[in-house]
Symmetry: C2
Amino acid sequence: MGVSKTQLFSVSHNELANAAKVLSHPARIAILEYISKQDNCICTDLVDVIGLAQPTISQHLNEIKKIGLLKGTFEGKNLCYCIDRERWAALQNAFNTFFSNINQNCC
Amino acid sequence: MGVSKTQLFSVSHNELANAAKVLSHPARIAILEYISKQDNCICTDLVDVIGLAQPTISQHLNEIKKIGLLKGTFEGKNLCYCIDRERWAALQNAFNTFFSNINQNCC
DNA sequence: TTTTAATATTGCAATATTACGATGATATAT
DNA sequence: ATATATCATCGTAATATTGCAATATTAAAA
C-alpha cells in the first residue's frame, strides 16, 4: 500500500527513520554539506552548485527545513539561512547512539 | 521523474544516501536494533517482534542485507544471521564524519 | 511604478516504496 | 514419504518520491 505503518513503531524509531529519510537523497547530502561548510549564511547559488532545477532544489530544502536542520529567514527575495547547530548535534547524537547500541557478544 | 539523478553526485554522497535510505524506515530501525541486541545469531520470530507480515519483513531484511549490514546464512528453513560489525562500524563512522564536518564559524 | 532577481507553489509524469496474499522452495520432524 | 515450519519470490494495489515546466510570489533596484 506504499504507506508505512508508523503506528507499529516507537516514537524514537520513527524520529530516527524520519531523520534518515532526509539524508537518504544525495542531493540533500550535498546541499547540507555545502551549507555546513560556508562561513556565513548562504543567500543563493545552490542551484548552480547542485545542478538540479530550481523547483527541485526548493523541494529538497523544504524537506531539510521540516526536520529543523536550517535556521534563518526564508521569505522574500534572498534566502538567508544556515545549519541549526543544535539540531545538527542532536541528530548526530541520535545516529551515534543508535550505532553504539550493539551487543558486542554477538557472533 | 521519480528517478534520482545519482550521476550528479559524488560516490561518497551516494553511498551515504544509500545507507541513510536503509535507515529511513522505522521497521528497519526496529529490526536492526532487535538483531543488534541479541546475544547470538537470530533464527526466527522477527515477524512477531515487528508486527508486519512475513513477506514484508523479508523485503526489509533484503534492503538491510544489500548494504552489507548482515552476515550469516540465509538459505534453508531457519535463518541464522547477525549484524556485520565491521560494516556497522564503517557506517557509524560515515555518519559521524558527515556530521562532524560542519563549519563552527557559521552563524 | 515597472523591472528584475530569487525563491515558492502548482501540476503532472515517471519511477520507487511499502505492504500483503498467494505461492514456491527448503529443511526438519513425524 | 508426508507433513510442517520457515523463509523467499511473485504479483499487485496503494501511496510516496523525484524532477521539472509553468507560473506565482516577494522584495529590492531602476
